[in-house]
């Protein structure tokens, strides 16, 4: 029996939150100062909580409880965007990714408030009350780094350059997107959401005179994500992904860097994260504490 298309949607949302939430919690004890230690610990906790709520909604469709969904799958069964699994790296990359991700999350959640999938629409409303604190945190750091010292600005720009191509793949079409759109579970297509997001981040980058990172991205291009088996996916996804300025707007052209996350394609960065995250679950199935 083919999977319910709504499962596709729920897992893409939940896995993004779980995996990026896991990365956020890696700052616990290591952030540049105590307030940020608390911020990333709390944001990570929120994101993992949101993932759990979405896994609860998915339970009847997946026929697996939330823990089994979060920790009982093979790496190829996860459906998050590859951006979310990348290591935290430099503080500039961390904040660039959080900003790009939380703006993207806000765009898609705003759309999903109008979903025909009533339980999801209600959950999204609740989740957005918490996400706005994440967004506020990211926007504060955008202002602080973009308007900061030469070094702060430089490292933030480098982070943006690295994160931007893969952030676009957050909006790669879901495998069952046509059915989701037809049934109204997704009120707007990924392509439309991507355009909304690009308009938003493009405007902020222009105001900060950092929009060159969007144009630089056209040259970077290419597909650079080996699958866990080492194979590089060929074909149409190999076309150079890019952003162009057309009629006063930033628009996406070509393919996606870091594509395939929604179909279970994983980079080599995911293995160690998955090993650690699922270690206890695999060692002692059904463990409680």
């Amino acid at each position: 029996m083919p999977d319910d298309p709504r499962l596709d949607l729920l897992l893409s949302l939940a896995d993004d939150e779980l995996i990026l939430g896991h990365r956020h919690t890696e700052w616990t004890g290591w952030a540049p100062y105590l307030e940020e230690d608390l911020a990333f610990s709390s944001i990570g906790q929120d994101e993992i909580g949101h993932a759990r709520l979405l896994y609860e909604l998915a339970e009847p469709l997946a026929e697996r409880d939330p823990d089994a969904q979060a920790f009982g799958r093979t790496p190829e069964e996860y459906r998050h965007a590859i951006l979310c699994e990348r290591p935290n790296g430099d503080w500039g990359y961390t904040m660039a990714r959080q900003w790009l991700y939380d703006e993207a999350d806000d765009v898609r959640l705003a759309a999903l408030e109008g979903s025909s999938f009533a339980e999801l629409a209600a959950a999204v409303k609740t989740v957005r009350l918490e996400e706005r604190y994440h967004l506020e945190h990211a926007r504060e750091w955008f202002r602080r780094l973009a308007g900061g010292s030469v070094e702060a600005r430089q490292r933030f720009a480098e982070g943006l350059e690295a994160a931007l191509p893969e952030a676009m793949a957050l909006f790669e079409a879901l495998p069952s997107e046509e059915e989701l759109l037809a049934g109204g579970a997704m009120p707007r297509s990924s392509e439309v959401l991507l355009a909304e997001w690009l308009e938003r981040v493009g405007r902020d980058l222009e105001e900060a005179s950092l929009d060159w990172v969007l144009s630089a991205h056209q040259r970077a291009g290419g597909e650079m994500v080996p699958t866990s088996s080492g194979e590089i996916e060929a074909g149409p996804t190999l076309t150079v992904p890019g952003v162009k300025r057309l009629e006063g707007r930033w628009v996406h052209v070509g393919g996606f860097a870091g594509s395939g996350g929604r179909r279970g394609r994983r980079s080599e960065d995911f293995g160690p994260l998955w090993e650690e995250m699922t270690g206890l679950y695999r060692a002692i199935p059904g463990a409680t504490w």
């Binding site: 307030e35 929120d46 209600a122 918490e130 504060e140 202002r143």
Partner: protein, 171 residues
């Protein structure tokens, strides 16, 4: 046939029991004080309680659910008890009862606050206008959106020079 008065009496006992279930992270307040009880339904053989978590990812959720179930079972006179967390409607700070607000202030936590509008600096030293739970002054600043639990932020009172916590606004 059980009379309506019997189920009403059980519902009263269940609601009383919920007044006695402390939030493990704020022991001065019960789950009822915090406005977490969304629904109590009593039938001839079952009691259902729907709770709203203050924050979706609250790590105390399972613990609270267990405490509530035990308390409700004692009041349910053998009826089957089901306790669920639901997310619709969303919990907001406005749900905290008058008594809950009083009790929160008693332990130095501001129950509700108006968010500053517009950009604020990092660290978040914006004037937050949250009345200080100790001296009542509005001359306070929010130091960080992040506190000891996901639902609380940290503030500083410039009048009485006390740090205090406040529930994050969700409305």
């Amino acid at each position: 046939m059980v009379s309506a008065t019997a189920t009403e009496a059980i519902e009263r006992r269940v609601r009383d029991a919920l007044e006695g279930v402390a939030d493990p992270e704020i022991p001065a307040c019960s789950v009822a004080d915090l406005g977490m009880v969304e629904r109590v339904a009593v039938t001839h053989d079952a009691v259902e309680v729907d709770l709203l978590p203050t924050f979706v990812g609250c790590p105390a959720k399972d613990l609270i659910g267990d405490d509530v179930r035990r308390a409700v079972e004692r009041a349910a006179e053998g009826r089957a008890v089901q306790v669920r967390f639901v997310y619709d409607p969303a919990w907001t700070t406005e749900r905290i009862t008058a008594r809950g607000r009083e009790r929160l202030r008693g332990v130095g936590i501001a129950p509700h606050w108006d968010r500053p509008s517009g950009p604020v600096a990092v660290p978040l030293m914006a004037t937050s206008r949250v009345p200080c739970p100790f001296c009542g002054s509005a001359d306070t600043v929010m130091e960080s959106s992040w506190g000891p639990t996901p639902c609380r932020a940290q503030h500083w009172c410039r009048s009485c020079r006390n740090p205090f916590e406040g529930f994050k606004e969700k409305a």
